[in-house]
Symmetry: C2
């Protein structure tokens, strides 16, 4: 029997280090992958189309919404972000677990459509530390940084539907916690109850 | 603020290796301990009073029930087993997590009284393997082994209120799964939501 993959939703403020700890946790694993979102925002220096995001224009984005090609979508700091549905559904059917790096609005939509999704909120140790990280990254204007911090505070207030919180102070610790969550979820009664029937 | 310890209920057929994997998982940790049960059964060769169990007679056991000194109690293969309440409550208040190795009836009682308890069912890879382990242990009569296997099948059928299942095929893997469950439970939204308020 092919076990279906799990959908794992990762959210948290920009700069919390979501992608870093996910890539560290899934390194070398063939049973897990990252979903690449589509966005209408411009690539940051160093970002590659199809790696960080599929960069598309707003017109194409609206088309994808109309054609029901997106599992979820949301506007965030003035740009559209969305998750192409087909990629996720194909992977899950193949037994591969899929990580979605999406913001709180989108995560809430996914949680409603797919209640079995595991929802993890990743945060920095403090918003002061987040500000430092965003400044050091050097890709956002001061105004954009203030927008992100304001949005972070709003997200914190809306995050009560997440299953887990990972505090990304040290990357290794945070990645280990993420792996522990994935292992624990594999041990869930509902996932393993067939062991009790084959007797 | 002193965080309260967690109550972790471990059940599973005798011979599944519950104590072994718990001792391996909590080795060297001061924030976790094993609760020692009281029982009316006779010590097996090598068992020490106050280590594996507190061995008491049936009369004293009945007294403890009457005085409400037990968090749970049950009869299992003709003997009484119970969990002294005070030890558990003191440890939890001190921030120490407490493991209870109790059978399904008792676990169900604890789950009703303390719904926040984490309930883990530990099983061998098969009942055939369980039979082999019990035979090799050499402490049970053939009749007692058949009783235990029959009871294991009954427990499997009643185990649907557990949160997790750990399959103890290789001890290292099972102990790592147990540790992952404990780590994941520390990452639960309810446990960490204060991180979202201190901003």
């Amino acid at each position: 029997m092919q076990t279906k993959g799990k959908l794992i939703v990762i959210s948290g403020p920009s700069g919390a280090g979501k992608s870093t700890i996910v890539f560290k946790a899934i390194e070398g694993r063939k049973d897990m992958c990252f979903s690449t979102s589509v966005t209408s925002r411009c690539p940051r220096p160093g970002e590659v189309d199809g790696r960080e995001y599929f960069f598309i224009d707003r017109e194409r984005f609206r088309q994808m919404i109309e054609n029901d090609e997106l599992l979820e979508h949301a506007e965030y700091v003035g740009n559209y972000y969305g998750t192409p549905r087909k990629f996720v559904e194909d992977k899950l059917a193949d037994g591969v677990s899929v990580f979605l790096d999406i913001e709180v609005q989108g995560a809430c939509q996914v949680g409603e459509k797919m209640p079995e999704a595991i929802k993890i909120f990743v945060i920095p140790p403090s918003l002061e530390e987040l500000r430092r990280r965003l400044v050091n990254r050097g890709t956002d204007s001061p105004e954009s940084i203030e927008n992100r911090l304001r949005r972070a505070r709003e997200e914190y207030a809306e995050a009560d539907f997440y299953d887990y919180i990972v505090v990304n102070d040290k990357i290794e610790v945070a990645a280990a916690e993420l792996q522990a969550i994935l292992t624990a979820e594999q041990c869930r009664y509902a996932v393993r109850s067939h062991w009790l029937k084959e007797v």
